[in-house]
């Protein structure tokens, strides 16, 4: 970088030229980041904004004035006065050939969108660049792991393009370092220590590798199990129901069924990260054990299905009997630390507005 960068210390921007337009940038930003901000559509396959730039796929190449060859925009820092071209006939031809080569690597070019968050990225680019030409025929890298019996992560490396996003998300985002790259060239293989199954590795089944894979080589087996459920897939933004971190998720539904979970990349508490529970432990809500009707204990000592009307009457009668016979301090209520805040608010209002007592607690003490 040159000495004349005007970072001023108070937010003043440096400037560069992007496709003939003068644009500002913050020192430290890459050419790709600046281009994204100015809505240039630079294709990428190995890029995940949460990870360190890798420069592996070379699709994000741009022309920089004074540089003979195109450079990868994801690994090139923006510099004062830099003149960058993001789109030209030469660049587009280059990108198309690269995509044709990438396509020649994989058995399947189209995968079910239920495979994962980014699983359609390669197919989308192949269409955008009209690159399904079959012009290159050659070896394929990667051997699938159909013998890995885990119920969560499909490991179909015959659809792997060696972008290493899975390896990098596992290391950089999760800090688990459960998977790595073995061999070179067409022998390249994503693997675990001692080339075994995931359960025997440091893998925590957080599913981040699935969600960053741009080809569906790594895919969400639980979601794919529902791929034939009829209907459009709908997404609903909500928050994970387990620990106190509060990770944002998008629930995938088809009809009245939750079929999977996608991490919310813009979730304020998690920025796309999830753990095994948030990613995979969602289907308890549709479990056959769910209570679907009120139950009232009968004279036979057993619980029997009842209408809301009967159950509410019975409950009101039972609780009021205690209050009438033993005073308002004979009734105690416990609010849930798992239910929404509105439930807890209603519960405390129940004892305070209803009975005038503070006979309430939640489950935080045990």
């Amino acid at each position: 970088m040159s000495d004349n960068i005007d970072d001023g210390g108070n937010g003043a921007l440096s400037t560069m030229t992007l496709d003939g337009e003068d644009v500002g940038f913050t020192p430290g930003e890459t050419v790709y980041e600046v281009s994204e901000r100015y809505r240039r559509e630079i294709p990428t396959l190995c890029y995940d904004e949460r990870l360190e730039p890798f420069g592996g796929c070379r699709l994000c190449i741009v022309e920089v004035e004074g540089s003979h060859n195109p450079v990868a925009s994801c690994t090139t820092k923006a510099a004062q006065g830099m003149k960058v071209t993001t789109k030209s006939g030469r660049l587009e031809m280059h990108r198309r050939v690269l995509l044709e080569l990438v396509a020649s690597e994989n058995r399947d070019l189209d995968v079910d969108p239920m495979s994962g968050y980014a699983s359609g990225e390669m197919a989308t680019l192949l269409d955008r660049y009209d690159a399904r030409t079959g012009r290159f025929l050659g070896l394929r890298s990667g051997t699938s792991h159909p013998d890995d019996p885990n119920p969560f992560i499909l490991r179909d490396y015959e659809n792997c393009i060696s972008c290493f996003r899975c390896v990098r998300v596992c290391a950089e985002q999760e800090g688990d370092y459960a998977i790595s790259v073995m061999n070179r060239g067409f022998g390249t293989q994503i693997t675990t220590e001692f080339d075994g199954i995931l359960k025997d590795s440091a893998c925590t089944f957080c599913g981040q590798c699935i969600q960053t894979c741009p080809t569906g080589a790594l895919a969400d087996l639980k979601a794919l199990a529902s791929k034939d459920v009829p209907g459009e897939t709908k997404l609903t933004r909500t928050i994970c129901p387990y620990c106190g971190v509060g990770c944002s998720v998008d629930l995938m539904t088809r009809g009245d069924q939750v079929v999977g979970v996608l991490p919310a990349m813009d979730g304020p508490a998690n920025h796309g990260a999830l753990c095994v529970k948030g990613q995979f432990a969602f289907d308890f809500i549709g479990h056959e054990d769910r209570l679907d009707t009120p139950l009232v204990r009968g004279d036979d000592g057993q619980l029997h299905p009842a209408t809301w009307d009967d159950a509410l009457d019975k409950a009101a009668e039972g609780l009021l009997a205690a209050v009438d016979n033993h005073g308002r301090h004979s009734l105690y209520v416990v609010a849930s630390g798992r239910a929404p805040t509105e439930a807890a608010y209603m519960m405390q209002k129940f004892v305070r507005a209803g009975l005038g007592t503070n006979y309430i607690d939640n489950c935080s003490r045990a």
Partner: protein
């Protein structure tokens, strides 16, 4: 947490004590791992060699229940080495001089005697934390689930106050809340001592305010905790209404707990499933689950976030708030006409100072951490920036106290309990999610391999573990994650009801159960 989750990759020294974060708050732990990749130092204190201990620069394997001694030893070193932030202490704390004198008695060698942690490691941890530019403390139930839980927290506060590691980015004292909405439940006033927004019930002004709002004069005395209420079941307490808690399996002293609930004249339970607790009820209400309800929940960094319904509830199950208000109306209580969760939340915001600046629509994107005292306030991701909420930070002259029960000839082994990554609490939810069994299908008792040999057990064999209150049969797992003489298991599996054993004592102030320490015997089946 005093500081936001986004701060977790920013400290240069991180002190984790009593938090198995990679398993219990895995996504938060990714922040710590990123901090380490940037060169931060990690101090981990835990009786078990948890995954965080693998990552630590110094690991302090303290004996269960000796946290206070460890913290006093560290404070001693920080004071002795002149690492005290005197300017901070002068400006923002009180009782500092007395504290610095107090800790002279507690050398690292003294702490080593009690904790079993080498004095040199205590020195190193204290030096790092004391010298930190941005030192952050993270803790969980390993600190609080003791009879001295309050003192343990005060011990951590003392370290913070003497070093000024608070009120700045990447610092702070940060408890990680264990349940998705345990913060929100407290915020909403589901506590015996506070109205919504932690407004004390003992303050006549608050009483007057809520009398106006609710049309009812509420007791000026604190109510009783659940622990006390369970003690009084069948006596003063004759009826209970429990929403979404599997008390029988999650609370200590299972036999006592079950007996208490059975002794009630009337029990009403609202839940997703017919839990062990619901099975004891006279009336069970089916409630809507996560994914089926609109609402809010508040996370460990006090961030208020929206829950949204994606699918309908099974059968006639209804949202908790609807069930509670319907029952209230049926009992003749006034003020329970609500159209939806939005109306309930907006009422909470109106009556609650800390939520006053938001409403249902404003929390749409989860952009606010409380306190948000007025409309237009940006929220408070970091507490205690310039002043402490309650005036000056008070040093407490804590001392080490033994657990309620200590090991003896009959119960010579320390049991400590917790969670594992793939299961949550009593497995009512994770146990019913496909595939989780592949990772964790049964309970096990984690025992050091040398103890396994010495006690005549074998990896995978069955053991009988007993405390003064009960016994369980559990499968043995040999692992060096457990130190010699200390074993670990969870309360996840109904067929190994570990809460039949625990419950030797409670913190006298918070009445939190001492679930982290329980002397037991472990013998072959």
């Amino acid at each position: 947490m005093s500081n936001p989750l986004a701060d977790m990759d920013k400290p240069d020294v991180i002190f984790c004590i009593g938090t198995n974060m990679t398993e219990c708050h895995p996504v938060a732990a990714t922040g710590i791992k990123r901090a380490l990749a940037k060169g931060a130092k990690l101090i981990v204190a835990d009786p078990r060699h948890i995954v965080l201990a693998d990552l630590a620069d110094v690991y302090l394997p303290l004996r269960v229940g000796t946290d206070s001694a460890l913290l006093l030893g560290m404070a001693h070193v920080i004071a002795r080495e002149g690492l005290v932030d005197q300017a901070f202490m002068d400006a923002r704390t009180t009782e500092g001089m007395a504290f610095l004198e107090h800790v002279q008695r507690f050398s690292p060698e003294w702490a080593e005697e009690i904790t079993g942690v080498p004095a040199a490691d205590i020195e190193q941890a204290a030096l790092w934390y004391g010298q930190a530019e941005r030192g952050a403390i993270y803790y969980t139930l390993g600190i609080t689930e003791h009879i001295c839980g309050v003192e343990n927290v005060q011990g951590l506060c003392n370290l913070v106050l003497m070093t000024g590691n608070i009120g700045r980015e990447g610092t702070g004292i940060n408890p990680m809340r264990g349940q998705n909405n345990i913060q929100g439940a407290g915020d909403a006033g589901a506590l015996p001592n506070n109205y919504p927004g932690f407004q004390p019930v003992t303050d006549p002004e608050n009483q007057e305010k809520f009398e106006k709002l609710y049309g009812k004069k509420v007791d000026l005395e604190n109510g009783i905790t659940k622990v006390t209420a369970l003690e009084m079941c069948g006596d003063q307490i004759r009826a209970m209404f429990i929403d979404g808690e599997n008390t029988v399996v999650s609370d200590p002293e299972r036999a006592h707990c079950e007996k208490a609930l059975r002794s009630l004249d009337f029990l009403v339970v609202a839940d997703l499933f017919l839990t062990e607790t619901a099975e004891l009820a006279d009336v069970v209400f089916p409630v809507s689950a996560w994914g089926e309800v609109d609402g809010t929940q508040t996370n460990t960094e006090r961030r208020i976030q929206r829950l949204r319904a994606a699918v309908p509830s099974p059968g006639v199950a209804r949202p908790d708030w609807w069930v509670i208000s319907a029952l209230a109306k049926r009992m003749g209580f006034q003020g329970f006409e609500y159209e939806g969760a939005k109306e309930v939340f907006n009422e909470l915001c109106e009556v609650t100072e800390i939520y006053h600046g938001v409403d249902w629509d404003k929390v749409e994107d989860g952009a606010f951490s409380w306190p948000i005292p007025f409309d237009g306030h940006p929220g408070t991701p970091m507490l205690h920036a310039d002043v402490f909420e309650n005036g000056r930070g008070i040093f407490n002259l804590v001392e080490q106290r033994d657990p309620a029960e200590t090991v003896d000839d009959d119960y010579p082994v320390w049991l400590t309990t917790g969670r594992r990554l793939a299961s949550y609490h009593t497995r009512t939810q994770t146990g019913r999610s496909a595939g989780i069994d592949y990772l964790l299908s049964e309970e096990s008792l984690e025992i050091h391999p040398d103890d396994v040999d010495e006690w005549g057990l074998a990896d995978g064999s069955w053991a009988i573990m007993s405390s003064r209150r009960g016994s369980v049969r559990v499968r043995v797992k040999a692992t060096k994650r457990s130190p010699r003489g200390t074993v670990f298991t969870t309360f996840s599996f109904a067929d190994v009801p570990v809460n039949a054993l625990t419950g030797g004592g409670y913190d006298p102030i918070t009445q939190t159960a001492e679930l982290k320490v329980c002397p037991v015997s472990v013998v072959p089946e």
